[in-house]
Symmetry: D2
Subunit: 361 residues, 4 copies
C-alpha cells in the first residue's frame, strides 16, 4: 500500500545524517512510498516551502558527504519556540500548529533523526498522536540502548588523526601537547581516540582528575627519558572536588554543567607544577564534519532502512539501534531516560589502564 512518510534531522551536525536520509528514501521508494523531507528540524513544519518531496534523484551522491541536505537547527522545539515580541526573545508553544501541519500532510510515519533533545520532542508529539519512529544521533555516543551511534566513529577517527599529528611535535619539541575533544557528559571520544592515538593521559567526565597525580605521571615519564606527554581532555572533564555543578534534569537525570575551556583550564593548573612547555589544541567543530567513515555510512544507511521497516510494521515510538551485529529497535522512552556513560570500574577503563594510560586518578 502506498504511503507518505516524512523525515527530519535535528540538533548538532553529525557525519552520517545524509546516509540515514538516503537509506530512508531508498527503502521507502522501493516500497512505492512517497517521502517528504522537512527542512531545518521541526521548524520546517511551520513553513510549507520547507516540506519538499525527496526522491531517488534528491539523494544521489549524498552518501559520502557530511552535514544534512535537510538542514537543521538547534532552535526548533515546537513546545518552546523562540520568537521576538516587542524586541524581547520569548518562547511560545506552537505544537498545535505543528501537529495540524503534520495532519494536513497525511503522514503514515515521521522519522525523527536526533539526539536526546529531538527525541524527547518526538515523544511529546507521539503522545499527541503523531506516528513517530526514531533514529539516534549523538556525536558523543552518550545515548543508551544502542551499542554505538553513527558519527561517533568518524569523530574518533578525526580525534585520533589529530593525536597522530600532535605526537611527533610533542616528541620533537619535548612538550606536553593537550588535545581537547568533545564529550560533555561522556568521555567516549576522549577514551577511544586516546587509546588509538597512544595518549599518555586521558581525562574524562566520568573520572574527576587529581592534578597532582597527573603531574606525577608526566614527571615520571620524564625520568624514564620520555621528555614529552600527550594528553586528551574531554570537554566535560573536571578536577576532583572542584567546580562540579550538578543540576537535576527533567526525569531525574543528574547532569554535569559544562564549564568551558577545560583544556586551557587544565593546562593552567598543570603549569603551576611543570617546567615543560604545554600547548593546547581545541578540536571543536572538526569532529562534527567531514565525510563519514565507512562504519558510519553503513550504520546510518541501515538505520534509515530500519526506520522504514519500523513504520511498515507500525512500531511507532521505537528507535533503530545496534546490538552486536544486529540492527534492532528499542522504545525511544528507554533510550532517553538517562545517559550512556563510561563505567569507571568497567572493562574499557581497565583495558586503558592496562595499556599504561593514566586516567587522572
Amino acid at each position: 500500500m502506498s504511503k507518505r512518510i516524512a523525515i527530519l534531522t535535528g540538533g548538532g551536525d553529525c557525519p552520517g545524517l545524509n546516509a540515514v536520509i538516503r537509506g530512508v528514501v531508498k527503502a521507502a521508494t522501493g516500497r512505492g512510498w512517497e517521502v517528504i523531507g522537512i527542512e531545518d528540524g521541526f521548524d520546517g513544519f511551520l513553513h510549507p516551502e520547507k516540506c519538499r518531496p525527496l526522491g531517488i534523484e534528491e539523494v544521489r551522491g549524498i552518501l559520502p558527504r557530511g552535514g544534512t541536505i535537510l538542514g537543521t537547527t538547534n532552535r526548533g522545539n515546537p513546545f518552546s519556540f523562540p520568537i521576538m515580541r516587542e524586541g524581547k526573545l520569548e518562547t511560545v508553544d506552537v505544537s498545535d500548529e505543528v501537529i495540524s501541519r503534520i495532519d494536513h500532510l497525511g503522514l503514515a510515519g515521521l522519522v525523527v533523526v536526533g539526539g536526546d533533545g529531538s527525541l524527547k520532542i518526538a515523544l511529546e508529539l507521539m503522545r499527541r498522536g503523531v506516528p513517530i519512529v526514531g533514529v539516534p544521533k549523538t556525536i558523543d555516543n552518550d545515548l543508551l540502548e544502542t551499542d554505538v551511534t553513527f558519527g561517533y566513529n568518524t569523530a574518533v577517527e578525526t580525534a585520533t588523526d589529530a593525536l597522530d599529528k600532535l605526537h611527533s611535535t610533542a616528541e620533537s619539541h619535548h612538550r606536553v601537547m593537550v588535545l581537547e575533544v568533545m564529550g560533555r557528559y561522556a568521555g567516549w571520544i576522549a577514551l577511544e581516540s586516546g587509546m588509538a592515538g597512544g595518549a599518555d593521559v586521558i581525562l574524562i567526565p566520568e573520572i574527576p582528575y587529581d592534578i597532582e597525580k597527573v603531574y606525577a605521571a608526566i614527571t615520571a615519564r620524564c625520568k624514564r627519558g620520555r621528555r614529552f606527554s600527550v594528553v586528551v581532555v574531554a570537554e566535560g572533564a573536571l578536577p576532583k572536588g572542584g567546580g562540579r555543578v550538578v543540576k537535576e534534569a527533567a526525569g531525574g537525570r543528574s547532569v554535569v554543567e559544562r564549564l568551558g575551556g577545560v583544556g586551557e583550564a587544565f593546562s593552567n593548573e598543570l603549569k603551576g607544577f611543570l617546567e615543560m612547555d604545554i600547548r593546547v589544541t581545541v578540536l571543536g567543530h572538526l569532529q562534527r564534519g567531514g565525510s563519514p567513515s565507512t562504519f558510519d555510512r553503513c550504520l546510518g544507511s541501515r538505520f534509515g532502512v530500519k526506520a522504514v521497516e519500523l513504520i511498515e510494521t507500525g512500531a511507532f515510538g521505537q528507535m533503530a539501534c545496534l546490538k552486536g551485529r544486529h540492527i534492532t529497535s528499542v522504545a525511544i522512552e528507554d533510550a532517553v531516560r538517562s545517559l550512556n556513560l563510561i563505567d569507571p570500574a568497567g572493562e574499557l577503563v581497565r583495558h586503558a589502564e592496562a595499556l599504561g594510560i593514566m586516567l587522572g586518578r
Copy 2:
C-alpha cells in the same frame, strides 16, 4: 608472581597486529611479567636468535603502524614444515623440536595471533601441553565467535576509499568500473565497502551470481539516465551453476576453491552483453597494509590486554573475541570449526537490497 610469556604472529598481513603486540607487552610488563617475541611465526622457535625479549622500549611508536614487528610467514607449520631434501621440497614434522624449545623457554603462556591456520596449529600444540591463548586475525572477517576481527575495518575503509575514487571516473566516463576486493569464502569486505561506497552491484561468494541479471540491472540503470555502474566483486564470487569447486576440509568444513582473477572473468562475461566500457581494478595487497583505523587500533590493543588476562586466569585454549561492546573469550575450538559467512537470507543482505543494491540474484 613473575611470569615469562611469548607472542607470535602468523599468516597474512593485517592492520592492527602491532597494536596486539603492544597491548600484550604493556599489560604483561605492567604485571611484572617478561615477554618474549617470537619472530616469523612458529618458525621462530627453531632459531634461538628469533626469540627476543620485548619490553616497553621495543613497542614504542608501533601502534599506528601496519605490519608486524615480529615478522610472519605462511610457511611455519611445525607439523608440516617445508624443507629442501636432495633438491626436492618436502615437509617434515618438527613439532617435537618446537615443543622442546617452548619447554626450554619456560613459558607460562604463548599468545598466538593468527587466523584459521595458525589457530589450528595452536590447538595441536595445546593438545601436546603448550599453554596457549589465541587472538583472532583474519582480514576477511570470516572467523566465527567474534563480532568482528581487527584489520577488517581498515580493509573496508581502503576498499571504500577506492570506490569513492572510482565513482567519479565511472560517472564522468560513462563506464562500468569493477573493483575486486578480498573475500575468498566470505563477502564481508565486498558487502560493507559496497554499501558504504554506493556500489550498484555487489557479488559475494555466498550468493552465486546470474550474469544476465547483472546485465539487466546495469542496462536498466542506463535507461534511467545513469550511464555508469560501480560493481564490487569479492575474489571468491562465482557465477551461478558454474566453476564452483568444493573440497572437504579437515573437520568436515566445505570450502570453495578460489579460481582467481574473478574481476577479470566477470568483466569478460559482462562484455558479451554490454556495449559500455568496463574497467577492472584489483585492490589486492593494499587492503592488508597501512596504518590501522582507530577501531582496529583499539580492538587490537584490547585483544592484547585480554590475552594477558586469559593467561593470568589460566584460561588456556581460549581466544579473545568481541561481543557487542565487550571483549570476552571463547574456545579456540569453537571459533575454527567453520567459517563466518554472510547469510543470503539475513538482515545485512536484506538491508543492502533495500538500499537498491543488486546482489547478483
Copy 3:
C-alpha cells in the same frame, strides 16, 4: 562587453577538472559573460541537448570532487569520428558540422581542457577559425611547457599512499612488493611517488632496466639484513634491449608502444633469479580518481581563471601553464610538439640515486 564562451573536457579522467570548470565559470560570470558547458568532449557539439548553460549554481560544491561534471569521452575526434556503417566501425570527418555548430552558438572563445590528443584537435579547429584557448591536462605530467599539470599531484599522492601501505607488508613478510603505476612514456609518477614512498627500486620508461642489476640490488639488500624490497614500475618501463617498439608519431615524435602488464612481466623476469616471494599490485584507475589535492584544486582553479583572461585579451591558440610560482601561457603548438620526459642524466635522477634508489641501471 558581454560574451558567450564554452568549455569542454576531453580524454582520460584527471582530478581537478571540476576545479577548472568552476574557475572558468566564476571568472567569466564575474565579467558578466555567459558560459556554455559542452558535454562529453567535442562530441557534445553534435548534440544540442549536450550544450547547456553553466552558471554559478551549476558549479556549486564541485571543487572537491573528482571527475568532470561535463563528462568526457575518448572517442570524440571530429576529424576521425567513429560511426557504425553496415555493421562495421568506420571513421568519418564531422569537423564541418562541429564548426557550424560552434558558429551557431556564437562563441567568443572555446576553452579546451585536454591532453595531447584534445589539444591537437583544438589546434586543427583553430586553423579552421575557432577561437580556442587551452588548459593542459595529463595525469602523467608528460606535457611540455608547464612545470606541472593538475591531477598529477593527486596521482602521486595516491601512489605514495599505496607504497606506504605496501611497505609494512613487504617488511613483515620479507617480500618484494611491486607497484605498477601510470606513466606510459614518462616516469614522473613512478619517480616522485617512489622517492616519497621510500622505494628501493624505481623503473621508468626513460631508463631501460637491466634485470640482472635489479636482482643484484635486491640481493645486496638482503645481505645487509633488509629481507624485503619495494619496487615501483611505471607502466611504460621496459627491459634493456628487449621488447621496445618505437613508432613514428605525427610530427616526428618517437613514442614507445605500451606492452601491458609490465609489473607482472618484470615480476616474472625477477622470479627466475630470486627466491623471495614477489607480489604485484596494479594501481590503475585509482590514480585518476578521488578528491583532488589542495595543490591540484588551486592549480586547476587558476588555470580556469587564466583561460578566461586569455580569451579576454584575445590570446587564442595559447594554453595556460605554470612556471615557478606564476600562471602564464604558451602556444599550444609548442606544448604538443613533443613529450616532457625525465632526463636520465638530469638533476631529479641524480637526486634519486643519491637517496640510494636503484633506477634499473
Copy 4:
C-alpha cells in the same frame, strides 16, 4: 675523500624535517662521509651526548614521519643563551664554546635546517669560521628566494581538510564558520587553503580587512540564498586602521607584531553586525604535525641531497632552494633579508578575487 659533517634542526616543527635528515645521511654516506646528528638545535653542541653518529640504520623508516628525530628547541641561540642565575633568567653569549666544540668535531660542513632565526644564527657562526650550508624551513612559506619550502604543502592540506569538514556543517546549520590558520606575517596558508577549500572570505596579514565590507559580503550571500559562509583568517590578519604594531627588525625589516586570537577577535567584531551563528576553530599545532605530503617528502629529501652537494663543492653560506622544477641555491644572506609576502596587487590575489573570494577589502 672522507669527510665528517653534521646536521641540526632548529625552530618550530615542520613536516619534512626527517626527510631532510634522511636525504643528508643517504647522500653523505653514499659518498663515504660520516654524519653527526646534533640534537635539540645549536644547544646540542654544548652537550657531547647530544652529538651522535647518524648512519643509514638511524634514518630507516623516518621518511613518512612528522617531527624530527634530532629534536629541536626554540631556545638554542648561542649568542643569547638563556640561563638561570640567582633565580633570574638571563642570557649569555656561549658562541665561543659552541664554535670550539664544532672545531673539536672537525666538521667539513654543518647543515642548518631552520627558518629565519636559525639561519641568522648560522650566518653569525659562518662569519666566525664555521662552514655552514642552509636548508630553509618555514611552515608559513614566508622565506624569500625559494618558490616554496617543505612543510608548507602539508600544512595547506591540513587546513583544506579542515575547511572540507567545516563546510558541510556551515551549510547544514546556516552558520558562519571561521577557521584561524597559521601565518603571522604572510597569508600563504590562508590564501591557498581558502582557495582549495572553497572559502567565501579570506583575511590575510597583507590586506587589512574592512569589517563592514566583510559583513556586507556575507549578507549579500544570504540574500542570494546562501545562508552560510566559510571564512579563513590568518593568525596575523588585522582590521584596517587598527591595532597594527610595526617594529623595526634587525636589518631594517618591518614586521607586524602578532596580537593573538585573531579568529575570536574577528568573530566578535562580526557579531556586532550579523544575526547568524558564528563558530571559530583554531587549527593551531595540527598544521605543524603529521606525515608529510608527497610533495614535502620529495622536496625535503632533495634539499637534503642538495645540502651535501653544496658542502662537496665548498659553497658555504648558501642555502638550498626551489626555483620552478629545479633545486638550486642562493646566499643565506639574501634569503633572510626580508620576508616573502603576498603581493596584494599580484596575480595570486587577482585569481582569488576572480574566483569570487572576498579578501576583506
